[in-house]
């Protein structure tokens, strides 16, 4: 998956009339945990009458030698600052479209809520800087969950993608109990193919599905260490 296909519908949209659009960063996020009736100060709106309840969710955090992996949906992670602020580094494979980036990050966060897993933000431990997104990605229409990786420019060329991907695989196979996950890699993407091989994935069939329209996408399968055969469904499908 390339990054600009995360929110495919947005990316297919016709061009806007830029003269009629402005960006709006003016409305800041609020501290939702502070909310309550005691903060409902305005009498007019109080007449509407409502009450509020909260729900919480736990997110895994993973640590490798040089990296910390945290869900971008985790309340302690500031996804706006890491990915969307004007000085945030750009993703290597992202489209030059701020709407698309915002919609993609929102969709990645929502994916965690819908599945309980998703792409982790990859944080460089010695700087605290976010350098990418790596993790299982399984939107509706995907044939099966994909281990997917997207590096930002400062994370390039340091082996971070393979370190983070290996960390996620260890978590999936050891703690989360998964027995298989694939990566969908374009045949011409030598860097990702090398990465897939480095972390032990094996090539299977070429695939095509609607939201991944590029030709020559190959399935690369990851299985737990010591598991020498691919899953039964995958056997015999190597082209």
């Amino acid at each position: 998956m390339s990054f600009h296909q995360i929110f495919a519908n947005q990316f297919r949209a016709p061009a806007a009339n830029p003269s009629r659009l402005t960006e709006n960063y003016a409305v800041s996020s609020i501290l939702l945990y502070r909310m309550g009736k005691e903060h409902a100060g305005r009498p007019a709106a109080r007449t509407e009458g409502y009450k509020m309840t909260d729900a919480q969710m736990r997110y895994p955090r993973l640590v490798s030698k040089r990296l910390m992996l945290i869900s971008p949906a985790d309340p302690v992670f500031d996804a706006n600052a890491a990915f969307l602020s004007p000085d945030a580094p750009r993703f290597i494979d992202a489209a030059e479209d701020p709407d698309s980036l915002w919609w993609s990050v929102a969709t990645i966060i929502g994916h965690w809520h819908l599945h309980g897993y998703g792409l982790f933000a990859v944080v460089e431990r010695h700087t605290g800087r976010t350098v990418g997104l790596v993790g299982p990605w399984f939107p509706k229409g995907w044939p099966e969950p994909e281990l997917s990786w997207h590096l930002m420019e400062p994370g390039h060329g340091k082996g971070y993608a393979s370190e983070a991907a290996q960390c996620v695989l260890d978590w999936l196979f050891t703690d989360a109990g998964w027995d298989s996950i694939v990566s969908y890699v374009p045949e011409e993407n030598d860097a990702s193919i090398a990465l897939a091989r480095r972390i032990g994935a094996r090539p299977e069939k070429l695939v095509s599905f609607r939201l991944q329209p590029a030709p020559n996408i190959r399935t690369w399968r990851h299985v737990p260490p010591g598991c020498t055969t691919a899953s039964p469904a995958a056997r015999g499908l190597l082209h």
């Binding site: 995360i6 929110f7 495919a8 519908n9 949209a13 016709p14 806007a16 009339n17 009629r20 659009l21 402005t22 960006e23 709006n24 409305v27 800041s28 996020s29 609020i30 501290l31 939702l32 945990y33 909310m35 409902a40 100060g41 305005r42 007019a44 709106a45 109080r46 007449t47 509407e48 409502y50 009450k51 509020m52 309840t53 909260d54 729900a55 919480q56 969710m57 971008p72 949906a73 985790d74 309340p75 996804a79 701020p98 709407d99 980036l101 915002w102 919609w103 990050v105 929102a106 969709t107 990645i108 966060i109 929502g110 994916h111 809520h113 819908l114 939107p139 509706k140 229409g141 939201l211």
Partner: protein, 181 residues
């Protein structure tokens, strides 16, 4: 900031976090002609991402749209709330009411709760709604809430939209309930 999405309760409706349980109802909405007014029809794959986006919007902005449940039936009647993905001219109150739930004042009831939330909790001083010029039912909701038509804006996927400016918090404080009677 927490990951919590608040629940609001009105006389007849419960506004709660969108969830996977809403997926089928959203698919039916986005497959229906009603979707023509909200950017066009979407298939299940795009609706799933839209649902993820609705939830992610809450984390990125600190507010968003709620799944609106009809108290009497427990069914989801629509997606209504505060909407401001990147590319919006300014935050809006949006109401996507599902088939079978029109004509009951539900959009007005839920949108009024969302407006109150924007002013009470978020401290906003103004908010608009963007309405497709052919969506007369939606314009009627804006009018019923006391909003005034102030112009048009053109957006991706949506074309030209009417900009309805809602009564501000001070208007509501001064006029009380009769401000939108």
């Amino acid at each position: 900031m927490t990951a919590a999405i608040p629940t609001l309760e009105t006389d007849r409706l419960i506004l709660r976090a969108p969830a996977l349980a809403d997926f089928e109802a959203l698919c039916a909405f986005y497959a229906s002609e009603r979707a023509a007014f909200v950017g066009g029809q979407m298939d299940a794959e795009d609706v799933w991402r839209q649902l993820a986006l609705e939830i992610g919007h809450w984390r990125l902005r600190g507010y968003g749209r709620w799944a609106v449940e009809e108290r009497s039936s427990g069914q989801i009647a629509g997606i209504i709330g505060l909407w401001n993905p990147h590319g919006m001219p300014e935050p809006e109150i949006g109401w996507d009411l599902f088939s079978g739930f029109g004509g009951k004042g539900y959009a007005t009831e839920a949108a009024s709760a969302a407006r109150a939330y924007a002013y009470d909790v978020l401290g906003w001083t103004t908010v608009v709604s963007l309405v497709d010029p052919d969506n007369h039912a939606s314009a009627a909701v804006a009018k019923r809430m006391g909003a005034s038509l102030e112009g048009t804006v053109t957006r991706k996927r949506f074309g030209e939209l009417q900009v309805w400016r809602h009564l501000g918090p001070d208007d509501l404080a001064a006029g009380g309930m009769e401000a939108y009677a």
